[in-house]
């Protein structure tokens, strides 16, 4: 008994020493590629954070279980809880950095902003699929950021394109209900620019995080009667927005959410009343029957290895998005291996891989995600790789696509991206790389 206690005490001391990082350096394993997973499974954003994290981790597990790793190199991973707080995210990044990670996916625009400054020195890739800084599409300045699949500026532009199809926007009024954080503010410059161009009025309605109190916001909407409402929310803010919309009986068909505001946790609390609510689909919706989902069941859930509580969660919108983020990470590693050999690759090599990533239609099919993403082709000048999205609508029971693909207007966005990236480079004293002569 006494010795037990002593062992425990020793273990505690070891843990404290571990926290202080005295002896950890030597433990890093060199025959596995380390992929850190920043997640939030607690707090007001957990309903949305959990399925994303499950999808991300499940894909890494699947690659190990089904393919024996990436070209024979196993993937190691570790979760770290950020709670969507920037300072905790920075702490997680520092904690996991010692294990030589190749790419981070922080799943928070605020954390992405904070890490963007750090990755220049640490040579670690940031893959921000569907979030992050919109201007980081410019790879000449943002060498380490890869906002793949689509940025918020793409999203804002595509939403305006969609509502414009229903009739000219001249003299119309669009309200933006946004999460008062870098994430929510990200689309504002594009919407303001488009408001000038298309002649609509933009009403900006910020919602203080976490967004459970929106009575005043929706009363304003009731007064002003905008023609469309764009929701840029996350976590509990989304379902609250829908409930308040119902309370002031604003027509759900005129509400459009960004892709982070259009998943099951957002509409399920409102149930049937959310019927008709539209959202951007970031290439994918709630596909459940693709080959990859069958593989998930076969290789993980049937063996009790799944991350999610039950296999019913497989294929929910955010699960799919987490899975796609992991796919992009793994494909970037694969692309790096093509050049540098099938071994444990470094951050620098994965940067090259992500910058020269090509996922064409055949590859998408081979990955088993047919119909869930558009072909991606990145380059130094375009770290995004693809700028397309479509709309899906909630019919009270499930999401279904209700529009064709849209592509964002590069002639509107590119000058803005360039201006913003140049401003960042000037502030940070970064010399932009010359994309013309990059290898």
């Amino acid at each position: 008994m006494k010795r037990d206690l002593r062992i425990k005490a020793a273990a505690v001391a070891l843990a404290v020493a571990g926290t202080f990082g005295v002896a950890l350096e030597a433990l890093a394993q060199s025959n596995e590629i380390f992929v850190p997973v920043l997640v939030y499974r607690t707090g007001p954003y957990a309903p949305n954070g959990v399925p994303w994290a499950d999808g991300f981790v499940d894909y890494l597990k699947l690659v190990n279980a089904r393919d024996g790793g990436v070209n024979g190199v196993k993937i190691a991973y570790e979760e770290c809880e950020t709670g969507y707080a920037t300072d905790r995210g920075v702490e997680c990044y520092e904690r996991l950095k010692s294990k030589h990670p190749v790419a981070f996916s922080p799943l928070s625009t605020g954390i992405t902003y904070a890490l963007t400054d750090k990755v220049y020195g640490d040579h670690i890739v940031l893959i921000t699929a569907g979030y992050g800084r919109a201007d980081s599409v410019d790879g000449a300045v943002f060498k380490w950021n890869f906002p793949m699949l689509g940025t918020y500026w793409d999203g804002a532009d595509i939403l305006v394109q969609h509502v414009k199809k229903k009739g000219s926007l001249k003299g119309k009024k669009i309200a933006l209900v946004y999460h008062d954080s870098p994430y929510g503010k990200e689309p504002i410059p594009v919407l303001e620019e488009l408001a000038k161009k298309e002649g609509f009025e933009l009403v900006k309605l910020p919602v203080t995080a976490p967004g459970v109190e929106q009575k005043a916001t929706w009363l304003q909407i009731r007064q002003q009667r905008p023609d469309y409402v764009f929701v840029w929310g996350w976590g509990v803010m989304n379902s609250t927005a829908l409930k308040e919309a119902i309370a002031v009986s604003y027509p759900r068909g005129q509400i459009y959410g960004v892709w982070w505001s259009a998943a099951e946790p957002d509409v399920v609390p409102a149930e049937m009343a959310a019927k008709g609510y539209n959202g951007l689909a970031l290439g994918h919706s709630a596909e459940k029957t693709n080959p990859i989902h069958k593989d998930m069941v076969k290789y993980l859930y049937d063996k009790g290895q799944g991350t999610a509580k039950s296999k019913d969660e497989i294929g929910s919108v955010l699960y799919n998005r987490g899975m796609l983020s992991a796919i992009l990470t793994v494909e970037s590693i694969r692309s790096a291996q093509k050049k540098y050999g099938n071994r444990v690759v470094t951050g620098d090599e994965v940067q090259w891989g992500a910058e020269h990533l090509t996922i064409d239609a055949t590859r998408i099919k081979a990955l088993g995600v047919d119909g869930m993403m558009q072909p991606v082709k990145t380059s130094c000048a375009d770290h995004g790789g693809v700028h397309m999205a479509r709309i899906h609508t909630w019919d009270g029971g499930e999401w279904s696509y209700t529009s064709d693909w849209y592509k964002s207007e590069s002639n509107v966005l590119n000058p803005m991206i360039k201006a913003s990236a140049e401003k960042y480079a000037a502030e940070k004293k970064i010399t932009p790389a010359d994309c013309g002569k990059a290898s």
Binding site: A11, V12, L14, A15, V16, G18, T19, F20, G21, V22, L24, E25, V39, R41, T42, A46, V50, A53, E79, C80, E81, G83, T86, D87, V90, E91, E94, R95, K97, S98, T109, G110, Y113, A114, T116, D117, K118, G121, R133, D180, S181, P182, K185, E186, I188, P189, P206, A209, S420, Y424, E427, K428, K429
Partner: protein
Amino acid sequence: MIYRETGQFKTTYASDQQLFPILQDRVFVIGLLAFAFVAVPFLATDYLFRAILTPFLILSLAALGLNILVGYCGQVSLGTGGFMAVGAYAAYNFAVRVPQLDLLVVFILAGLCAALVGVVFGVPSLRIKGFYLAVATLAAQFFIDWAFARIAWFTNDTPSGSVSAPPLEFFGYLVHGPQEKYLLVLAIVSVAALVARNLTRGAIGRSWMATRDMDVAAEVIGIRPLTAKLTAFAVSSFFVGMAGALWAFVYLGSWEPLAFDVNRSFQLLFMVIIGGLGSILGSFLGAAFIVILPLVLNQLPTALGIPLSTAMISHIEFMVFGALIVFFLIVEPRGLARLWAIGKEKLRLWPFPH
């Protein structure tokens, strides 16, 4: 036995009034500083510097500032996060708009801006007291949050409202490694602690404490509440503003108003209460408790090899952390600094307790 003052005679006023009158204290503090400045940079890892020591030191500085106001002058404030934000954004604006200024000057100017704002929001303290003042300072917190989130000028018209600090350059020397950043913060915090310690021992500190203990009596013996309270607000906000600038520039690098929201104010107030009101040491102990303990708790299960889900680990972290706060407040309501003082008293008698 080791900790005894026997034989230490004070023959001059100067030696009686010095910072640490007991030899052992002096040796301990000098040793600690020497260890922190000389040994730690060689011993610690990157993670320790960046994720633990730097934030701990910066928040200690903020707690120190708040302790002057709450602990020494008795003015409860819930606007600390806001004053930190003033420091951070003032530093950002000076650095971006007047790039000729050296960063050290920028940090001091940022502290002065925060002091000014602190004085303005401290004016109501002349008429309202206690909980009512706490509510008034809460208004400062929300107003400042609002101002930095809404007024685009403060963020240099950044579209997302998130701003990012320029490189840390002091007199032409670029501070970038984690060790250098740590040493920078440590130097600033040490100077601040020295200043705070001396201020609180001097006339001005005594006027604060008199105001805290009974403001009417203080007024009767000739202390002007206006000067006492407003200087406390100014000095406190200066430190807090410096801490805000350091938090933004050195720790986060890029930030949004959310980094200084009301939760930050509460966090700092808890540090001061748990660490010990009216104690310089308490500010550091409180900061250590609030900053470091959750991180240790979070990593304990993994280090022990207990397989737990990430969610479970963070739930346990919250529960244990909460329970420990309650435990310490029950065992010693006057804070960790008081526990330290009791320990010292015991040591003086050891090994012959009466």
